[in-house]
């Protein structure tokens, strides 16, 4: 969706010949105008002393969007914005993200959400989003793993729609086992691979002599015992 500015009768964004009264070129003005809107939207939610949108701001944004704070679409938005720190959007991230979405207002943002969902679900993006979801949870510096509780929530959020039965069993297992207190990135990525490759619930084609992470070997063993 092109920014509204380009629909003006004045010169299109890439011509720079006409100068307006305040010395800026019209195209710049058009861009700035669009950018302005995005910035203004940013400032609505940003914490003025920090210069970024903080968790409170995000909560507010969510409520304005009519979306729950824990909704997966916010995670998708963070992904689109390439947000680095969980619970915060910087101005750069905001600008780049909203431009990529082609929105500059709240209503447009709200309308863009379903499309964003479809974009994420595209096979080429899905794995990227999945990995992003994990990294987004690494809040401490040098943190490499995420605790089981959060992982369970994340699994539900991210894989729940597509792989409901796998997620339910896996979450149940993660809660009862005590071998692992945290999950690392390698295990995380293999959860997705497991859902995609292994037939469920029979687990017929699972081969523990391959390089599956040990936690999945144990999970499969647990499932097979349950089934017998």
């Amino acid at each position: 969706m092109p920014p509204r500015a380009s629909k003006r009768k004045s010169a299109p964004p890439n011509s720079s010949s006409v100068t307006s009264s305040d010395g800026r070129s019209v195209s710049n003005k058009a861009k700035t105008k669009g950018m302005d809107k995005i910035d203004r939207l940013f400032n609505t939610y940003a914490n003025s002393s920090l210069g970024v949108i903080d968790p409170e701001g995000i909560e507010a944004l969510c409520s304005d969007l009519g979306v729950d704070y824990t909704d997966v679409r916010i995670l998708m938005l963070a992904w689109k914005l390439k947000a680095e720190k969980q619970g915060y959007f910087t101005q750069d991230e905001w600008q780049t993200g909203l431009k990529a979405l082609g929105v500059d207002s709240l209503t447009k943002l709200k309308k863009a959400l379903p499309e964003l969902e479809k974009e994420v679900e595209e096979p080429s993006n899905y794995e990227d989003f999945y990995i992003y979801a994990f990294q987004y949870c690494l809040t401490e510096e040098k943190q490499k793993s995420v605790d089981i509780e959060s992982i369970c929530e994340l699994l539900n959020l991210v894989l729940g729609v597509q792989f409901r039965p796998q997620v339910d069993s896996l979450v149940e297992y993660l809660k009862v086992q005590n071998d692992y207190k945290v999950i690392n990135a390698d295990q995380w990525i293999n959860f997705l691979r497991f859902c995609k490759e292994i037939s469920f619930p029979d687990l017929e084609n699972y081969d523990a002599t391959q390089a599956w992470p040990l936690i999945l070997d144990n999970f499969v063993e647990w499932m097979r015992e349950k089934q017998s």
Binding site: S145, N184, D186, Q187, I189, N190, Q210, A211, P213, L214
Partner: protein, 733 residues
């Protein structure tokens, strides 16, 4: 010598006369042999007819005449004598005419020799000998070859059935087959050998099919051995040596290969039964028969392995089921396993000639049951206990030095079959420490001998710590002499008590819990004095005192008599409290000693509830509780003047297993890094197998443990999974 041209007719006339004379000689008529003069004449005649320029060069005609003469001789004299003859008579006659033919050719060739020198080469024609051979082949051999082949094979068949035959006749006949080949073995092979082999095969196939029904395995094998020997003799006596390999292979195939399964699996006499009944001779024979056959020994080795595995497993189960006192049972188990090992090792060396297949079969079999003791203790622990029993004083063995050496040697051999070698090392080390520190070792030489055997078997690293321990004891003794000198020259420093200190180098000895026991003042003084001495020797080392390993001799002033009590330092610390107090409660003792509850209960139990009640306890129950009170038992007495109050050791088994598990995690980690550093990129399964290989000297790693370490290394960013192929790992430098 004047040589003039000669007229063909005249020359030939002369030569032909000589030929006629030759024929008469051959017929056996009373004809004088050629004189050398006559021979020279004939030779020269031929020479004169050939060494000329044309048209007086009659080489070609003479060459043709030579052939003619031979052909005529054969057809008129030789061949007819063969007709109508059969079997052995045919063979005899053939040999006779062959001999005649050879003589004829020899003499003729001498006469016509000049042709061989130049004409034959010049025209690239076959030499005279060859011509002779060809004539025989075409005119005689081709006609009779099938019949003589058949007759020869019949003779061989008769010999196989036990008849005596004329070997030299057969040999001569076979020489003809070879000669006819003119340098190649083709005729012998195609015209005789092929059918002979076929006939042999059929013969033995028949025999085998009836023998296998009637005979037991040993009987059958004996027959095979005999047959093979006879066939070899056959080759020696008349067959060509080139036939040996094919012949033996044929016989082996019919007798041994075709029926291998039936033979080995014969119910009452087959391989299993032979093993069961210890029939060493028969098994040796079986080995000899099958070792030359490719893959022939595989099923034998397999049965051997199964048998040994079954015996071993039955042994382990039987002893597991028997309800002996623990300790005794396990000792018996190891003895029996050693016996079993010696028994079957003897089979491998004597019957099976130390063949690789059988060495490995034995190894694999032992590995199966040696790791499964069916008791609470792992086989590694049992073996260490077994060695400890032999090496300690008053051990259950009252054997000669040689017998002890032999038993220890056999015990060390068993280590090769145990997966958890590192666990054995830990247990052995712990027990060695106790033997060394409490002076329980029976014989220094045996101790050192075991260590050197272990070093040989498992490598230097395995025994380096243990050797360090033994060295420490020796050094401590020297050190003690120096300490005594020190005390003599510093009499003020003398603590008033005889003190011996053993210094242990930390890395070599098992780790001991340091304790914070409060010692009686007398002992504290000892410690200080020694520290003083030690500082004069070295300032760089730190001493950590392990009182739990010490012993103390106390004089117990009982009412009836004074008895010397040999106790541990901790026990002594408890007893000495009663020098200043008559009666102490558990908690008072606890406070004064600063011990742990676990240790204190053990100590008090050994002094008040065990065999010798040095302390009396109120209430007088069999166990220690925290509300008990203790008094010095002045009424105690014993007929001995010196008694040892044992303190049962803490069961360190769990800790040892934990320590070893930890070490294994490090070892696996290091192995994975080593492999990946070299390979850079490697598939999961290969990585696992290379790790297992690297660690195989020390222990058999659990695959899950390897997987866990791989994951750990991924988290620590040493490795990463390949994006394209999730079963491959990459080394991150």
């Amino acid at each position: 010598m004047e040589s003039k041209t000669i007229d063909f007719e005249r020359g030939w006339d002369h030569v032909y006369k000589g030929i006629k004379q030759l024929r008469r000689i051959l017929e056996g008529l009373p004809e004088p042999l050629f004189t050398s003069g006559e021979y020279v004449m004939l030779y020269s005649t031929v020479y004169n007819m050939c060494a000329r320029n044309p048209p007086h060069n009659y080489s070609q005609q003479l060459y043709d005449k030579y052939r003619e003469v031979l052909e005529e001789y054969i057809t008129s004299t030789l061949s007819p004598s063969l007709r109508g003859k059969r079997d052995e008579f045919l063979l005899r006659e053939l040999v006779k005419i062959w001999v005649n033919h050879k003589v004829m050719v020899r003499w003729l060739s001498r006469f016509f020799n000049y042709l061989d020198r130049y004409f034959v080469d010049y025209r690239s024609l076959p030499a005279l000998n060859e011509v002779g051979m060809t004539c025989f082949t075409d005119l005689v051999y081709r006609e009779v070859q099938t019949n003589i082949k058949d007759a020869a094979i019949v003779l061989i068949g008769k010999e196989r059935e036990g008849d005596r035959i004329d070997c030299s006749l057969l040999k001569n006949v076979l020489d003809i087959f070879v000669a006819v080949g003119m340098g190649s073995m083709e005729r012998y092979e195609d015209d005789f050998e092929a059918d002979m082999l076929r006939d042999t095969g059929a013969y033995y196939s028949r025999k085998a099919s009836s023998w296998i029904e009637e005979d037991s395995c040993p009987e059958y094998m004996l027959k095979c051995e005999e047959c093979l020997k006879k066939e070899r003799d056959r080759v020696f006596h008349y067959l060509r040596s080139s036939s040996e390999v094919k012949l033996i292979e044929k016989v082996q195939h019919e007798l041994l290969v075709t029926y291998i399964d039936r033979l080995l699996e014969k119910e009452h006499s087959g391989c299993r039964a032979l093993l069961r009944d210890d029939k060493a001779d028969d098994l040796s024979r079986m080995y000899r028969l099958y070792c030359k056959i490719p893959r022939g020994l595989d099923p034998v080795a397999d049965i051997f392995k199964q048998h040994v595995t079954a015996e071993g497993t039955a042994l382990v189960q039987a002893i597991g089921a028997a309800s002996n006192a623990p300790g005794v049972q396990e000792h018996v188990l190891l003895r029996k396993i050693i016996e079993l090992h010696c028994k079957y090792m003897a089979y491998v060396t004597d019957c099976f000639q130390n063949h690789n297949l059988f060495c490995n079969a034995l190894k694999d079999a032992f590995k199966v049951f040696c790791n499964n003791t069916g008791t609470d203790s792992s086989s590694a622990e049992l073996l260490a206990t077994f060695c400890d029993d032999i090496l300690k004083k008053g051990g259950s063995e009252k054997l000669s030095d040689e017998a002890i050496e032999e038993t220890l040697e056999n015990a060390v051999k068993l280590l090769a079959y145990i997966n958890d070698r590192d666990l054995f090392a830990e247990f052995y080390r712990k027990k060695l420490a106790r033997r060394l520190l409490f002076d329980r070792s029976a014989n220094d030489d045996h101790e050192r001998s075991v260590l050197s055997k272990l070093k040989q078997q498992c490598g230097e690293q395995f025994t380096s710590k243990m050797e360090g321990m033994v060295t420490d004891i020796t050094l401590s003794r020297e050190n003690h002499a120096a300490f005594e000198d020190y005390l003599r020259s510093n009499s003020a420093a003398h603590p008033g008590i005889d003190l011996t200190v053993t210094i242990l180098t930390t890395g070599f000895w098992p780790s001991y819990k340091p304790c914070n026991l409060n010692l009686p003042t007398e002992m504290i003084k000892c410690v200080e004095v020694f520290k003083g001495f030690y500082e004069t020797k070295t300032k760089h080392k730190k001493l950590t005192w392990i009182y739990s390993l010490g012993t103390c001799n106390l004089s117990g002033m009982f009412d009836q008599k004074t008895i010397e009590l040999v106790v541990s330092t901790h026990q002594a610390a408890v007893l000495m409290l009663f020098n200043t107090s008559d009666r102490l409660s558990y908690s008072e003792i606890m406070d004064q000693l600063n011990s742990t509850h676990e240790d204190l209960v053990r100590l008090l139990h050994s002094l008040s509830c065990a065999k010798y009640k040095i302390l009396s306890k109120q209430p007088d129950t069999k166990t220690i509780s925290r509300s008990d009170y203790f008094e010095f038992n002045s009424k105690f007495t014993n007929k001995l003047r010196r008694i040892k109050i044992p303190l049962p050791p803490v069961d360190e088994k769990k800790k040892i297993v934990e320590d070893v598990d930890k070490d294994r995690r490090y070892a696996i980690d290091a192995a994975i890094v080593r492999v990946m550093k070299t390979r850079k990129v490697l598939g999961y399964q290969q990585l696992v197998s290379e790790c297992v290989e690297q660690l195989s000297q020390t222990f058999k790693p659990d695959i899950k443990a390897i997987k866990k370490q791989i994951e750990d290394l991924i988290t620590r960013e040493f490795l990463e999974r390949d994006e394209e192929n999730p079963n491959t790992f990459k080394y991150l430098a």
